[in-house]
């Protein structure tokens, strides 16, 4: 393998950033700091305003519950065991922060996610700056700071935000490696990918994009020792997951989940991402990124190829993979933002602006403002509490779930058992109510059910025996599983269900509650 030359790193025309002291140094420091401060302000505002206005959704409840269990909360441990499916780096971070700031609120776990999201914005800024200059970096950072996809996900207690942060760091390291050919960058890239894996194991999909890039770009080559330098820290960090399971006394949790994932039926159609993600990243932003790729194709380098491979591989993979979650493609968001930033900052090269620097800058600012505004409006709408009875998993908290859970905690006997339509509402009620809630849709067949969930193999028998005291209907689960909703309604009728809690959200659902809890009583 031939080496990438160090000459790649020293690009002609780069500004001299040698530290200087005195007034000029201060000016330089302010000049370097204001973009960071501005990005933190914008990203922080979008992520922290009304952060806990709506309670957790199912996944958030699971991860916050896992974090609480890790932190030693024995009341949640029976419902949220530490090892369910994923590695627990993010949950460990949440547990650590909660030990410092206190537990029992939705705000702290979500604030951790929000801070991770802001960090991802800054890394995207650095990535864009490194690839295409300060303007492109700043525009990319601004776009990600207000992008609905990234804002919505990074306001939730989800693993994808931290995974996206570390894969973006890894991408930055790869870029630095390609530019410098130094093994330390490959080592850093391996570490970042390892941390991404410990955040969420699906990060390994990005390695496919990396492989595709090096395979398709033969003039950017790798040394074997550099590959080893990257692989060793990656493998060492990946090994933490099974090692921690073994030391904790639960060695097999992950494998059974993997088997389940491999055999899961399709949960969304193959067109899911095509119909959702363009709107989530912003149609104008996506258009700008694509237009930039076409418009600036003559100026194309390995950089665009790297970004394209990085984004394309997970898109293809998760489109084919039958289990599709809204947030799974979040790692492509920084790439789209950087490509859009490149396109917008490239306006200064338009011939019409060649001798009109101020006009060119004004055009860049105007287009950036339009893009940011086109993102900020839908983002503001999406982070506002919903007043409808439907919900797409991963797009925010579940309205009414927290209130129902609190009612359960206050009004349901400690050892009572409940049955909901599916495990999603069960997770929420278990988190807030700390009562055992089963999911009717959880299959008794171990081959087709999530091993983290306990089924009720014969709900009729359990109800006849009085083993279940409450049935829970919710409009969100009913919308996704009309069959199980009808089945639960049938059980309510058969076992003399009496509504004891009825939860509505906003004015739109006053006549149609989103959550109803029935007390049931079998005929003796």
């Amino acid at each position: 393998m031939s080496a990438t030359t160090d000459a790649l790193e020293t690009v002609p025309g780069a500004p001299d950033s040698t530290p200087r002291f005195g007034r000029q140094g201060t000016r330089r420091l302010i000049g370097a700091a204001w973009p960071v401060a501005a990005l933190v302000a914008v990203a922080g505002t979008m992520r922290f305003v009304g952060l806990d206005a709506v309670g957790f959704n199912s996944d958030e409840a699971v991860y916050a519950g896992t974090a609480a269990s890790l932190g030693g909360d024995t009341s949640l441990e029976p419902y949220f065991p530490v090892f369910r499916a994923h590695p627990v780096l993010f949950q460990t971070l949440v547990a650590g922060v909660e030990q410092m700031l206190g537990t029992g609120t939705d705000w702290v776990p979500r604030a951790v996610a929000a801070v991770v999201g802001i960090a991802a914005v800054l890394v995207t800024f650095s990535l864009g700056r490194r690839l295409y200059g300060p303007s492109a970096g700043l525009i990319a950072g601004l776009i990600l700071a207000v992008m609905p996809y990234h804002v919505v996900v990074s306001r939730q207690v989800l693993l994808d935000g931290m995974m996206t942060l570390f894969v973006t760091v890894a991408l930055y390291c790869i870029v630095s490696y390609v530019e410098s050919a130094r093994a330390t960058w490959m080592c850093a890239a391996g570490s970042a990918m390892g941390l991404a894996f410990l955040s969420k194991e699906t990060a390994v999909v990005l390695l496919g994009g990396l492989f595709a890039f090096f395979a398709l770009t033969p003039w950017v080559t790798l040394r074997l020792r550099h590959i080893v330098a990257g692989f060793v820290p990656f493998a060492a960090l990946v090994a933490i997951h099974p090692l921690s399971q073994a030391l904790a006394g639960k060695a097999t949790a992950g494998s059974s989940y993997l088997i389940y994932q491999l055999s899961r039926p399709e949960n969304h159609p193959m067109t899911f991402y095509a119909s959702v993600v363009p709107w989530a990243v912003g149609i104008f932003v996506l258009t700008a990124a694509v237009v930039g790729l076409v418009w600036l194709r003559r100026e194309g380098t390995w950089r665009e190829r790297l970004l394209m491979c990085w984004a394309a591989f997970p898109i293809v993979f998760f489109t084919i993979w039958p289990v599709r979650g809204y947030q799974y493609l979040l790692p492509i968001a920084p790439v789209v933002a950087v490509l859009a930033g490149r396109a917008v900052s490239g306006l200064v090269t338009v011939r019409a602006f060649r001798r009109r620097r101020r006009t060119a800058q004004a055009a860049v600012i105007a287009v950036t403002a339009i893009l940011v505004a086109s993102l900020a409006v839908p983002t503001a709408q999406q982070i506002s509490p919903s007043t409808t009875g439907s919900f797409l998993a991963g797009t925010g908290g579940v309205p009414g779930g927290r209130e129902a859970g609190h009612w359960v905690a206050e009004n349901v006997p400690a050892n009572a058992r409940m049955l909901s339509i599916g495990p999603s509402m069960a997770n929420i009620l278990q988190y807030y109510g700390q009562r055992k809630v089963y999911g009717l849709s959880v299959s008794p067949n171990p081959e087709v059910r999530n091993p983290a969930y306990a089924p009720v193999s014969n709900p009729d028998r359990a109800l006849r025996r009085g083993e279940l005291q409450y049935l829970v209907w919710d409009s969100y689960s009913a919308g996704r599983s009309p069959t199980f909703s009808a089945k639960l309604r049938g059980l309510v009728d058969r076992y003399n269900g009496v509504p004891v809690y009825s939860g509505t959200v906003g004015a739109g659902t006053k006549d149609r509650p989103v959550i109803i809890i029935y007390a049931v009583w079998p005929d003796p």
């Binding site: 492109a136 950089r303 009572a416």
Partner: protein, 460 residues
């Protein structure tokens, strides 16, 4: 015009009466405020089941006065019958032998249980069978968690009808002489008359309630079974007065009252198919009791309620404790199972205060300031010792077992926290070193790379 006015007045009166009933404030006393309970028990539920003795249900319960080790009931020949567990068998109901209790009592010797059956030509071994935790999971669990009375006697040595009369009136049935075969044959004051007069809300919940099955449906002189279980239905006013009759409702309303917040102050409950009158109905009875307690536990009334569960008569089953005489000088029946359940009830206590069903009436009378019905309830020692009102109300717990499910296993969290923490620090350190060395290698130029292309970046 007058007829129309009268109709309007009648409708208005009916509506206001119905509204008053719905609110649990009976018409006559609606204007006076209902007496406040003297204890934190604002709702008292009194459940009367069928036939059982204490030894039949709790004869092997630890800590209670159960079946003595050397028990062997003599027979006519030089032989005896020992108690035996009924678990795993399918025992038939005990034969109904008139006056058997007196023979079993045998002037206080309590040695006629097997002999009485033998003399009647029935299975002499049958009355010595007993159940245990395996057959009575709810009853035993309630005994574990609340108060079990091991000196609670049937109110009389007669059958269910007399005992149920004591349940509501603290006295045996007081018959009226009539030649009208469709007229009520019993007329006596009951606890419900006292409650009605005082304006205390009440209901009588009846499983499978049939409003037509009253004294009016009696065939010949033999009462229909519902009127035995619900003695009020033997009395004229509780059948023909709509205001009083409206208090007698189907048991299904118990759950809806709990959910709707309309549970009355005093509730009596009579089961039918779940009444544990025979061994075959015990599983249903256990489900009924568990369901009622769990429903109460799951309701807003848990902290303000107490539930007394007992059985009307021994039914021929063996018990070893000779009954004492009551406050009115009458000999009581054999011991029957009795439990007191509630948020203010002591936990896991076996209470040996000598009681009978009038103790429940005495509690109602004492709690709401009502006059006693007879010398029996007036002289009842009561079950105040079973309560602990000085302690905070107990948390509600569900009696029914959880569905069989995969348990989750606790793990050691400390190694997980340490390993992940160390991994994060190590990983970030490597990245930091690379970044710092990159800056140094580049002469501190920073990472700002311009967009200009380097020829070396292009494919050859």
């Amino acid at each position: 015009m007058k007829a129309r006015l009268r109709a309007i007045v009648l409708v208005a009166a009916s509506a206001s009466a119905a509204f008053g009933v719905a609110l649990g404030a009976p018409g006559a006393a609606a204007s006076e405020p209902a007496p406040q309970p003297a204890t934190p028990v604002e709702h008292f539920i009194y459940v009367m089941q069928g036939s059982a003795t204490f030894d039949h249900y709790y004869g092997t319960y630890d800590g209670a006065d159960g079946i003595p080790d050397d028990t062997c009931q003599p027979l006519a020949a030089a032989d005896c019958v020992q108690p035996f567990a009924l678990h795993g068998t399918d025992p038939p109901p005990l034969s109904d032998i008139g006056g058997i209790q007196e023979a079993q009592y045998n002037d206080g010797a309590m040695d006629g249980f097997a002999a009485a059956f033998e003399a009647a030509g029935r299975d002499r071994r049958a009355p010595m069978g007993y159940f245990d935790r395996r057959d009575l999971p709810v009853s035993w669990r309630l005994a574990d968690d609340y108060v079990l009375f091991d000196r609670f006697f049937a109110a009389s040595q007669h059958g269910a009808r007399t005992n149920r009369s004591f349940w509501v009136a603290a006295a045996p049935p007081r018959y009226v002489t009539t030649t009208d075969t469709t007229a009520a044959t019993i007329d006596q004051p009951t606890i419900f008359d006292r409650l009605e007069s005082a304006g205390v809300s009440w209901k009588f919940y009846v499983q499978d309630y049939d409003p037509a099955e009253t004294f009016q449906a009696r065939g010949g002189s033999r009462p229909v079974t519902q009127t035995i279980r619900v003695p009020l239905l033997e009395q004229e006013r509780f059948v023909t007065d709509p205001a009083l009759a409206s208090h007698i409702v189907d048991l299904a309303e118990y759950r809806s009252d709990l959910a709707a917040g309309t549970l009355p102050a005093v509730s009596f409950v009579a089961a039918s198919r779940s009444g544990e009158r025979s061994p075959a109905s015990i599983p249903a009875g256990q489900r009924l009791l568990g369901g009622m307690v769990d429903a109460l536990a799951a309701s807003r009334y848990w902290t303000s309620s107490a539930m007394l569960i007992t059985y009307d008569s021994p039914g021929g089953w063996y018990d070893h404790v000779p009954p004492p005489t009551s406050a009115d000088g009458e000999l009581l029946g054999f011991r029957v199972p009795a439990l007191l359940v509630g948020a203010h009830v002591r936990s896991g206590v076996v209470d040996s205060t000598p009681l009978d069903s009038s103790a429940g009436l005495a509690f109602v009378e004492g709690n709401w300031g009502l006059e006693p019905l007879s010398a029996r309830d007036a002289g009842s020692p009561g079950f105040g010792s079973a309560f602990d009102f000085s302690a905070p109300a107990r948390e509600a717990t569900i009696i029914a077992a959880a569905p069989v499910s995969t348990p989750s296993f606790a793990v050691r969290t400390a190694p997980v926290m340490w390993l992940y923490g160390a991994a994060a620090i190590a990983g970030l350190a490597v990245i930091g070193i690379a970044y710092a060395s990159g800056r140094g290698h580049r002469g501190g130029r920073g990472s700002a790379a311009p967009a200009e292309l380097n020829p070396l970046e292009q494919p050859p």
